[in-house]
Each structure stands twice: as structure tokens, then as C-alpha cells.
């Protein structure tokens, strides 16, 4: 049989080459930003769906999906939500078996993006809003990802069970014997938020803090979204870590929950978004990525979700303490990337699960 090349094959080859060049870390410049064009919308509509792997709280993620579906009818959003560390494991497991199911990812562990980028799994794509408005520290220089959301891992308490003046003010306060058996805490092997927070706390306060906290008979849950819900149920009085945005959500739903910004500083958690190179729906993926960074979507995650946005045109929600007024711990994705396995191992040894 004779080999025949047709034009499409050649184009495919060229495309693959271009993609390789684009993915190469040697490239110093990000690709030019892309405005949402009618052609992109049309191509995305042909694909008909986008698969979004995310660690954001499920109702929030579904709300983003619904808003996107309303704006672009005919393209459905499949949300696959689990903890960021699980998302990372799942994508690794799926890619190892050559299953390319994920289009767009959002992880609350920014270190994952470093790994995915290094492994050449991400597609360079810079939405217009990112190029125009996002500060340099919140966008990858090669255009592989940008900070979709920022969140805090706070402490909190149930106001029915604890009086405001008796509530702990700092991480150190949690080690008081009076809190034994009353603390709920999420797990760094599941949640990217908690892994990031554990890294920052261990760096600033030392592992000694966790060593002592582990002796306080904490109730160990998995997701960073769960401790605020456990507080709302009244199952535990205080949470040692968990998502600030869920605390806002349950508080605004009328539950007796109040956040605490520890005096040592509050861990800052950045959750970037990225498009996968092998995305099964590449156009819908790009359209969705653009939507995620639009003012509309960013305002939604602030207003509905209680999250923090890095888009300068987005207004912070009334009643939420502005980010600039909170003493933050320093975010360091590279540091997390280097210590991730070690943190999980040490944590498991201390807390037994």
C-alpha cells in the first residue's frame, strides 16, 4: 500500500509541531491573548460540551456551569468535583492510561499547575481578561494558567456553642486543653487548600504545632469545604482549618458560624485554572476558560461563592473583610511542590489517618 499524504495530514503534523513548540518551557513569551470570537463559539457549540475537573465546592462549581450554559446555549458543562489532591491523582491515573477526559481544570493547590506544565500537559491559552487585567504574579509567563480564584483557609467557630470572647484567636489557642475533642479539621491528602495551608503553617509555626494539635482528638474530615458544614450542624465547636468562602456561605444562610483570622496570619490559597493540551473539546475548553476569567464569572464567585477574585474590576462583597485588611501568610507554590509528598506523609503519621 502506498502512503499518500493529504493536506489534512500535513496540517495535523504542523499543528502538532506548533503545539510542541508552544508547550516548550524555553518559550519566554506568552501567546497573544484571545478575545472570544464568533468562530470560537461556533466551534465550541459543535463540540457541545466541556468537562471541568475542579476542587471548588460543588454547588459553586455547578452554578458556574449553569451560568456558562445560559450564556452559551448548546454547550453543557460536566462538573467533576473532588478534592484538589484527588483531582491531581485522578488526572495522573487517567493520563497514564491514555484517558483524556479533562478539558479545563481548577485546582486549589497551585503546585499542581507547576507539575502539569513541566510535564507538558497544558495548552497555552490566555483569555483577554487575563491579558488585560491580571497582575503578572497571577498569570503564568508562558500563558499556561492564571489564578482563577483566591481563598483563605481560616479558623471558625459555632456561635451557639462558643461565646465570641471565648473563641480562639490564634492557632496557638487551639492547643489549649479546653478545645480537646471539639475541633474539626480537613485533610491535606484530599484538599489542596489544606495542603497549601499545612505547608504555610508548618513553615511559619513549625511542625510542633501539628504534633500538639494531633493530640487534641480532632475530628478528621476530608474536604476543606466540610469543616464549616460540620460547624453549622453543631457537630464540633471550632474548626482548625477550612474554606473561608464556605464559612461565608453558611453564615449568610443563617447558620451560627463566624470566621476567625488567626493572629499568626491566615494561609492564602491560590486556585489557578488551565486548559489541557489533549482536551477532548478544545474549543469549548477555551471558551469556558475565557468565561471563567470574565468579570461576570469572577463577580459570581465572589457574590454567590464568597470567594476572592484577582480581577481588579471585581468588587469585594459587603460584609467580607477585604483581603488587604487581613494578615496573610505568604503563598509559595514552588515550596509546596517540593514538599507535597513529605507533608502528606508527616501529617498521616501525626494524625493516624
Amino acid at each position: 500500500m502506498a502512503w499518500t499524504f493529504d493536506r489534512r495530514d500535513v496540517l495535523k503534523g504542523a499543528g502538532a509541531l506548533a503545539a510542541t513548540v508552544a508547550a516548550s518551557p524555553l518559550r519566554a513569551q506568552a501567546p497573544p491573548s484571545v478575545a472570544v470570537s464568533d468562530a470560537l463559539i461556533e466551534a465550541a457549540r459543535k463540540e457541545g460540551r466541556v468537562v471541568y475537573y475542579t476542587s471548588i465546592d460543588l454547588p459553586m462549581a455547578q452554578r458556574i456551569g449553569k451560568a456558562f450554559e445560559t450564556k452559551y446555549p448548546g454547550i453543557s458543562v460536566r462538573v467533576e468535583r473532588t478534592g484538589a489532591e484527588r483531582v491531581f491523582q485522578r488526572i495522573g491515573q487517567e493520563y497514564a492510561s491514555k484517558i483524556h477526559a479533562v478539558d479545563v481544570v481548577n485546582s486549589s493547590d497551585a503546585a499542581h499547575l507547576i507539575v502539569w506544565k513541566r510535564d507538558g500537559l497544558l495548552a497555552p491559552y490566555v483569555p483577554e481578561d487575563v491579558a488585560k487585567h491580571y497582575p503578572d504574579e497571577h498569570r503564568d509567563p508562558d500563558g499556561m494558567f492564571a489564578s482563577f480564584r483566591a481563598g483563605l483557609s481560616v479558623m471558625a467557630y459555632n456561635t451557639n456553642l462558643v461565646k465570641a470572647e471565648e473563641a480562639p484567636k490564634s492557632f496557638a489557642d487551639l492547643l489549649d486543653p479546653k478545645w480537646a475533642g471539639k475541633i474539626v479539621k480537613a485533610h491535606p491528602s484530599y484538599s489542596g487548600t489544606i495542603l497549601t495551608a499545612t505547608f504555610q503553617i508548618a513553615r511559619d509555626l513549625g511542625w510542633d504545632y501539628f504534633d500538639k494539635l494531633a493530640k487534641q482528638r480532632v475530628m478528621q474530615v476530608q474536604s476543606a469545604t466540610d469543616p464549616p458544614k460540620k460547624l453549622a450542624l453543631g457537630e464540633r465547636a471550632v474548626m482548625a482549618d477550612g474554606n473561608e468562602y464556605i464559612v461565608f456561605q453558611v453564615k449568610e444562610a443563617g447558620q451560627p458560624v463566624e470566621p476567625i483570622y488567626p493572629t499568626e496570619g491566615t494561609p492564602l490559597v491560590i486556585g489557578p485554572n488551565a486548559v489541557f493540551k489533549a482536551a477532548p473539546n478544545p474549543n469549548a475548553a477555551r471558551l469556558f476558560q475565557s468565561y471563567c476569567f470574565s468579570v461576570e464569572c469572577q463577580q459570581l464567585i465572589v457574590d454567590f461563592g464568597g470567594l476572592r477574585s484577582l480581577h481588579p474590576q471585581v468588587k469585594e462583597k459587603a460584609g467580607h473583610r477585604p483581603l488587604k485588611d487581613i494578615k496573610l501568610m505568604k503563598e509559595d507554590a514552588d515550596g509546596v511542590e517540593k514538599q507535597s509528598d513529605e507533608i502528606k506523609k508527616r501529617y498521616t503519621q501525626l494524625f493516624k489517618v
Binding site: 468537562v51 475537573y53 465546592d57 460543588l58 454547588p59 455547578q62 452554578r63 456551569g65 449553569k66 453543557s76 458543562v77 460536566r78 462538573v79 467533576e80 468535583r81 473532588t82 478534592g83 489532591e85 484527588r86 491531581f88 491523582q89 485522578r90 495522573g92 491515573q93 487517567e94 497514564a96 492510561s97 491514555k98 484517558i99 477526559a101 479533562v102 456553642l161 475533642g181 471539639k182 491528602s189 484530599y190 482528638r217 480532632v218 475530628m219 478528621q220 474530615v221 476530608q222 474536604s223 469545604t225 466540610d226 458544614k229 453549622a232 450542624l233 453543631g234 457537630e235 464540633r236 444562610a253 447558620q255 509528598d341 502528606k344 498521616t348 503519621q349 494524625f351 493516624k352 489517618v353
Partner: protein, 578 residues
């Protein structure tokens, strides 16, 4: 399965080719692949490691050394043994008297009681565990709140703490006692009244009769039940994942699962799986020995109905006992789930003012994985039930009629998966089907294989006993009149067996949709099933959606059972072996 068609055609033509031998051989090969492939990978992984220098697999016993020396792995093993022994004993203590009351006394409403035991059997254990969290979490649990309201006790005091070893044992026992109950009640049903009558006529009192006749006759069933309960408790994944992890301890199954989390250690997971496999094989051998030695076959032509013992005034405490026992796995958890489904806060009692459809709306109209998961679950349940029943039917025919040489091997292979706990099978299938030549991971096929493998033993055992009940002379007559083996099977035997076949189908369907431990190892985002979705929701604390999904799952289960049992001509087959 595809060979069945040419077989039928051959029957109609004048050439009478008996295709049963190649057919049965195909099944034997199929079974070998089904079971041996994952187990071989498991064993291979457990004794090898990748040499960092050469990147090649080299033999090592390091994983087993770690397994038996690292306290992080030894402790879960000990915990698992304690949990399994305690819940097995608890099951027997509850199920034996209850089985006796239902089968041998004039306790009223026994049909209803048996139906409710079936309900506790079909309730997925992980769903029960979540419901018990809502009921008996130390601070927010409904029962503890009730206790504090009634006694005016302190804020922090509680009656039950479900996040504890006793809590875990209790919840496991709640959903394993039906195994013991059914075995004991069936055994008691089968004891002919004559034997007890004979004993009484010979002058023995009620107690002596019980001690010398009844108890020895049911003892094998009770011991078998205890072993089954032990096994179930040992291999359960959902309940410990839900109740033990918050309390800060692992069992073997949750440990194996956590070894698959990032960074995955498949070799260690494989090594940790083998003790479970070994223990299961030993237990099953033990059960066979006990049953083999004390297998009183209760033969005899027509024997009298079992004598029902009059309870008299004792009926009141007896009934109270039964109601309390049934409250624990059925009434209370179902109530908790219903409340959580329609309440804004799972652990607050719903009132007409607070009644909300928010969770319902969220689950069915916002949650984008609900439809996918329901569809996958239904497809897998129906496919596994159909293929599994066909497979079990053919194999049990071959063994019951000794149709081919080496039929014992078929029988052994069909029962072998009994010795493979779901999570272990999950690990094995994952290792086997994520690489060439069979890349099935990421498809529904790998889950289908898992479900069929897991359910085959029970299906085979049910159908084998059904085959034994149909005398071969009917088939012989058909064959003498010129039908092939397949034709006589289709025309003669099948109609006689349809009740059992239907019961088996139902059994596999129900067991498939409640399966979590193999699915949790094998699912991908596109092949999610409801049980896995519920587990995902559990980890992020979305109790309302869990309640809605769990209730939908129960509705689906009960609808299928009732529907299948109502098909005209099938009579009330029921889940008699469940």
C-alpha cells in the same frame, strides 16, 4: 454467549451438532481470564519492585516486610480483626433468636418481618453508615439531641458516638445480620417437625429437644452465618471510610484504598491485599469443613410442617425485640435520610415551615453528574445481572448435570471470587486492565467485569441448588426424543427454573447497585456510578444531596424487585436467598 445462536439453529436443522462442549470450554476459559488475570497481577506486584537504577521489575519481599513491621499497616490489620470478630458475634446474638422467633414460633407478621430484613439487606451499608452519622454523631446526631432534650444534659454530653470502634462495629452489624438471619431462618424452616415430635414422644422436654435436636441441626447454619458476617465485616470499605477516618483510625480496606491515593503505592497496596485474600480463603475452607462434617442432610419423604411454638404472653417482649432490631438498620436510618432530604440542615428535624425541595432540585437539576451516574448504575446493574445470570446458569448446569469432563474445575472457578474482597479485586483489575493487551480502565467494561466476578459465586450457588431440584429425567426424555442438549435446556429446564433465575437476576442487580469497594478503585469521571458519587458527596459534606441520591437508589432497587416479582407467570419468587 454468541455461540448460543448457532446452537439453536443447529437444533432446527437435521444435523444435530452438540455445541455444548465448546460452549462450556469457552466459559471455562472466560472464567479463568476473569479471575486469574487480576489475581496474577496482584501477586506479581506484591513481590516485585521497580529497580530505580535499571527501571526493571525485580523480585523483592520488601513490601511484606513493610506490611508486617510498619505500625501504620499493622494497626489497621489488628483493628480489622477486632471489628470483624465483634460484629460477627453481634450479628449472631441478634439474628439467631430472631430467626428462631420468625421460623419456629407463632410470632405474628413474619412475612412482613422477613420483608423488612430484606430491606435492611438491600440498603447499601455506606448509606446506612451516613444515615447513622446523622443519627448518632456525638453532638449533632438526632438521637443525641433527643437525649439531651429529654434529660436536660450538658451541651457536650452524648449517648452515642458513632465515630468510634463500637460505633463502627454496630453499623457494620446492622447491615450484615441479614446474612446470618436468612441462613438460620432457612435452616429452621427446613427442619421437619417429625424429628422434634419424635424427641418429645420419647419423653424429652422442650429444652432437651432444643438442645439435642434443634440446635445441632441449625448449628452449621449459624456457624456459616458467623463466618459470612466476619467476612463481610472484614472486606467492607464504605462504613469504615465514613466512620473510622473521622475518628482517626484505619481498617485494612481503607488503608489499601489510601495506598492508592497520591503518591500511589500499588505494590504495597497489592501486598496489603493478600492477607485479606488469604484470610478469606482460610475462612471459606473452615466453613466448608464445618458444614461438611455436620451436614445433616434432612432427607425423608413427606414430613410434617415444623411445629410452631406458642409464645403466649412472651409474644410481647419477642415482638418488642424484633421491632427494636428492625428499627436500627431500617426505620431509623430511613427516617434520618428522609429528614435530611427535605430539611435545610440534615440534623435538624424538618417542620412544615422549613420543608424544602432545595436538595431535590440541586440533585436532579443542577448536579451534572447525577444523570450520568444513574444511567451508568442502571446499565451496569442490568448488564451484570443478565450476563451474570447466564454465566451462572451455564456453569451450574454443567456441574449439576456433570455435563463435561472437569466440571468440578468450573464449579471451583465460579466460587473462587468469593475469596476475593471487592477492594482487592478492584486493585487487581486496576493493575490488569490499565495496560495492554486489555486496556479497559476508563470504560464501563472494567466495572462490569468487577461486578460479574463479585456476584458470580452467590448466583452460581443459588442456581446450582435450583438445578438440583429439577430431576434430570425430564431432560433425558427430551434428549431421547432427539433434541440437542441446548434445546432441551431451553425447552424443558429453563421454564422450570425461571423463578430461581429471576431471583438470581434480582440478587445480582441489587448487589451491583450497592457495590462501592471495587467501584471506588475503578471508576473514572465518565464511568461514575451512584455509590461512588455518594461517597464523593460524603467527602465534601453534602448530606442533603446524599439523602436524595440514596433514597432514589432505594426506590430504584425496590421498584426493580417489585416489578420483576409481579411479572405474570413468575409468581412471587422473592429474594428468597437474600
Amino acid at each position: 454467549m454468541t455461540l448460543a445462536l448457532p446452537g439453536q439453529k443447529a437444533g432446527r436443522q437435521s444435523f444435530k451438532v452438540d455445541l455444548s462442549v465448546p460452549l462450556l470450554l469457552t466459559f471455562a476459559v472466560l472464567l479463568c481470564v476473569l479471575i486469574l488475570l487480576p489475581i496474577s497481577w496482584l501477586v506479581m506486584y506484591s513481590v516485585t519492585m521497580v529497580d530505580p537504577a535499571t527501571k526493571e521489575r525485580v523480585l523483592t519481599l520488601a513490601h511484606f516486610r513493610t506490611l508486617f513491621s510498619d505500625p501504620d499497616l499493622v494497626e489497621p490489620l489488628i483493628t480489622t480483626m477486632i471489628v470483624a470478630v465483634c460484629s460477627s458475634v453481634a450479628c449472631c446474638l441478634v439474628a439467631a433468636p430472631m430467626g428462631w422467633l420468625v421460623a419456629r414460633t407463632d410470632l405474628p407478621m413474619t412475612r412482613l418481618i422477613r420483608a423488612l430484613v430484606t430491606a435492611s439487606f438491600v440498603t447499601p451499608p455506606f448509606l446506612g453508615a451516613i444515615a447513622w452519622e446523622i443519627l448518632a454523631a456525638p453532638n449533632s446526631g438526632l438521637l443525641n439531641k433527643f437525649y439531651r432534650t429529654v434529660t436536660g444534659a450538658e451541651m457536650d454530653s452524648y449517648l452515642f458516638n458513632i465515630y468510634s470502634m463500637p460505633g463502627l462495629i454496630f453499623v457494620i452489624a446492622c447491615y450484615t445480620f441479614p446474612y446470618v438471619f436468612v441462613l438460620v431462618a432457612n435452616a429452621l424452616d427446613r427442619i421437619p417437625g417429625d424429628l422434634e415430635d419424635a424427641s418429645s414422644i420419647l419423653g424429652a422436654g422442650t429444652w432437651t429437644t432444643a438442645r439435642r435436636v434443634t440446635i445441632p441441626l441449625v448449628l452449621p447454619a449459624l456457624v456459616a452465618g458467623a463466618l459470612v458476617a466476619f467476612l463481610q465485616a472484614m472486606i467492607l470499605f464504605g462504613s469504615p471510610a465514613i466512620l473510622a477516618l473521622p475518628a482517626g483510625f484505619h481498617t485494612m480496606t481503607t488503608k489499601i484504598w489510601s495506598l492508592f491515593q497520591y503518591p500511589p503505592k500499588p505494590e504495597l497496596a497489592a501486598a496489603a491485599s493478600l492477607p485479606l485474600l488469604f484470610l478469606t480463603v482460610m475462612l471459606l475452607r473452615g466453613q466448608q469443613m464445618i458444614l461438611g462434617r455436620k451436614g445433616y442432610s434432612i432427607v425423608g419423604g413427606k414430613s410434617g410442617e415444623p411445629r410452631l411454638i406458642r409464645l403466649g404472653w412472651f409474644v410481647v417482649p419477642a415482638m418488642a425485640f424484633v421491632i427494636i432490631v428492625l428499627m436500627l438498620p431500617v426505620f431509623l436510618p430511613y427516617f434520618a435520610l428522609l429528614n435530611a432530604a427535605f430539611s435545610p440542615l440534615a440534623t435538624t428535624l424538618v417542620t412544615p415551615e422549613t420543608f424544602t425541595l432545595k436538595n431535590f432540585y440541586f440533585t436532579f437539576f443542577e448536579l451534572s453528574t447525577t444523570h450520568l451516574a444513574l444511567k451508568n448504575t442502571f446499565i451496569l446493574g442490568a448488564a451484570a445481572a443478565t450476563i451474570g445470570t447466564v454465566l451462572a446458569l451455564v456453569i451450574s448446569y454443567a456441574t449439576a448435570r456433570k455435563a463435561v469432563r472437569g466440571y468440578q474445575v468450573l464449579g471451583f472457578l465460579a466460587t473462587a471470587p468469593l475469596a476475593i474482597p471487592g477492594i482487592v479485586l478492584g486493585v487487581g483489575l486496576f493493575l490488569a486492565y490499565t495496560r495492554p493487551p486489555f486496556v479497559l480502565y476508563g470504560t464501563l467494561w472494567v466495572l462490569l467485569l468487577a461486578y460479574i466476578t463479585i456476584e458470580l459465586p452467590a448466583a452460581y450457588q443459588q442456581l446450582q441448588s435450583a438445578f438440583r431440584a429439577v430431576h434430570p429425567e425430564l431432560e433425558d426424555a427430551s434428549r431421547i426424543l432427539g433434541a440437542t442438549r441446548l434445546r432441551s435446556l431451553i425447552d424443558v429446564t429453563a421454564p422450570l427454573l425461571r423463578t430461581s433465575v429471576l431471583a438470581t437476576w434480582c440478587f445480582i442487580f441489587v448487589s451491583t447497585i450497592r457495590e462501592l469497594s471495587a467501584a471506588i478503585m475503578l471508576f473514572t469521571s465518565e464511568t461514575k456510578v451512584v455509590s461512588v458519587l455518594i461517597f464523593d458527596l460524603k467527602e465534601s459534606g453534602d448530606l442533603g444531596a446524599i439523602a436524595i441520591l440514596g433514597l432514589s437508589m432505594l426506590v430504584l432497587t425496590f421498584t426493580v424487585i417489585i416489578f420483576v416479582n409481579r411479572i405474570p407467570g413468575f409468581g412471587s419468587s422473592g429474594l428468597r436467598n437474600t
